[in-house]
Assembly symmetry: C2
Homo-oligomer: 341 residues x 2
Amino acid sequence: MLDGLRARQPAALARAISVVENGRPGFEALLSALHPGLGRAHRIGITGPPGAGKSTLTERLVAAYRSQGHQVAVVAVDPTSPFSGGALLGDRIRMESIALDPGVFIRSMATRGSLGGLATSTREVCDVLDAAGFDRILVETVGVGQSELAVSRMADSSLLLLVPESGDGIQTLKSGVMEVADLFVVNKADRPGADKLRQEIEITLGIRRGNAFRHVPAHHGFKARTTAESEALAAESDAEWKHPVLATIAAKGEGIGEVIAALDAHRDWLAASGTMRERRRRRLEERTREVVDRALVRWVWDETGAGQAIRDRLDDLEAGRVSPYEVAGGILDGLKQGARP
Amino acid sequence: MLDGLRARQPAALARAISVVENGRPGFEALLSALHPGLGRAHRIGITGPPGAGKSTLTERLVAAYRSQGHQVAVVAVDPTSPFSGGALLGDRIRMESIALDPGVFIRSMATRGSLGGLATSTREVCDVLDAAGFDRILVETVGVGQSELAVSRMADSSLLLLVPESGDGIQTLKSGVMEVADLFVVNKADRPGADKLRQEIEITLGIRRGNAFRHVPAHHGFKARTTAESEALAAESDAEWKHPVLATIAAKGEGIGEVIAALDAHRDWLAASGTMRERRRRRLEERTREVVDRALVRWVWDETGAGQAIRDRLDDLEAGRVSPYEVAGGILDGLKQGARP
């Protein structure tokens, strides 16, 4: 399977992803074997409120990357929601324009367990895609809340897509804004309020430097540059990343080149500033913790008698003779001593 | 503190909630002591997409319960989101009309860790409020996704609030709709499409019985009834709950009496059908599992050397000499044997 995967054979790829996504026997051994070869792909997180145009932007970015000769994978993360489902379905249909390209791989991930679990599974699926040689992996999250943070923690570069209608929400981003995303994009920029929103984001970022709507911080160079040029630019700038705030009309393909250039510049900056290495180390530590937590919880409920120990006390719990905390305490004491309660 | 709490002294209540919410030393002992006296409150979950009018409905329900002499608590669960923040702020301001009433307690809970952790904390805060004698506890969740499911698992009665604009999403609820909520309410019922949405929900529920917009299933009796009447009605109906689909214009106070009556009827049905007991037992089992998981993860990272064991291998992880799965496996083996890695 490993050879098939590295040769990007569709069947091997589908099988590997399915094994990893469902935690089937051997999934950890597979991921373990892939580990040394990871890190070639640029992982890009795209998030934003429903209706911001994430799928349209993703589709445009995929087309642009394809025209540059990249192998592109799209992972769409759908936190289970009765409300976003309809929109999602539409998105998937629209994506069919790129789905027919054999150089593009699209996969939806649905929430099964907790969001925490989904975030880990998504990272692991991205590992498989990275190992398979996709050098651009776009992870699109639908919905709001924890999922954004989970994405920004997993991606090399995270992009927050907003529309003029999101204006009210931006005020609350406040000082936390830089942790939310590396790049900000105001989509549907031909609508009223787009200019104002962009200004507000820049003020919030504390990098407001002018009033012109199409003003672009010069040192980011939002034109296609050679890697050498970008690296030189990144190296001569501060250690701090200056978050670009861009404007697009994704439906018409306007501003896409600038987004691609900003993503390239961010990746170059990550490498030149040493941030890539830091982030990678932090993610490795986090991943190991997640794997421990997941395996530990699985072990307790599948392999020890803890579940039965609770059921044996249900009558007492119901009658108030014992509390959940007392029952849990007994189970924990046993686990800590290596006993199997 | 326990005596002050049971006497609903504001200072004792605030202190108890703070201890529980932040997991301060002794929080499990406190919850354990409260356990035997729980179960008097009617816990009601209110969820729905942003903009559906959840806070307006909550405010109206609080006023109605207060006029009946109930002590009412509102717990607003805010999954951290850069996008819903603005709306939330507005909601909190609007709620000030009820916040001045000493018979009403309002508390916001923000996501700190995982959503799973937030759901557990919310349930524990509700326990404190239950023990303090609040007999109606409204838990309002903002946002979409996992949080709905978490709420419906914690509440005795869960209400899904929709607006005509939510029409597209309802199709995807499909067969899972009954698990999402016990009551459905179409708010802003004077808007175009409200009638159609209500019909669609009823069709999805398979209980479509007529075309009249204001049609109400007769046997639910959406008028104020005595408890005895409601109980008799609930007892004579099937063991199965017939999900009501109601219409409100919360901003004008229209339809609130019907929602209150439906919530009362649901509670009566829960008791008469034996479902309350089943749900309570299931929740006690689930809670105990959550407490074990939470304490276990805390123990591993705070009290064993697992965190240091990962950091010691970071260089090897980065160089690809060892994978996160191998490092995690070693830690797990130690934990399972009761050793402290």
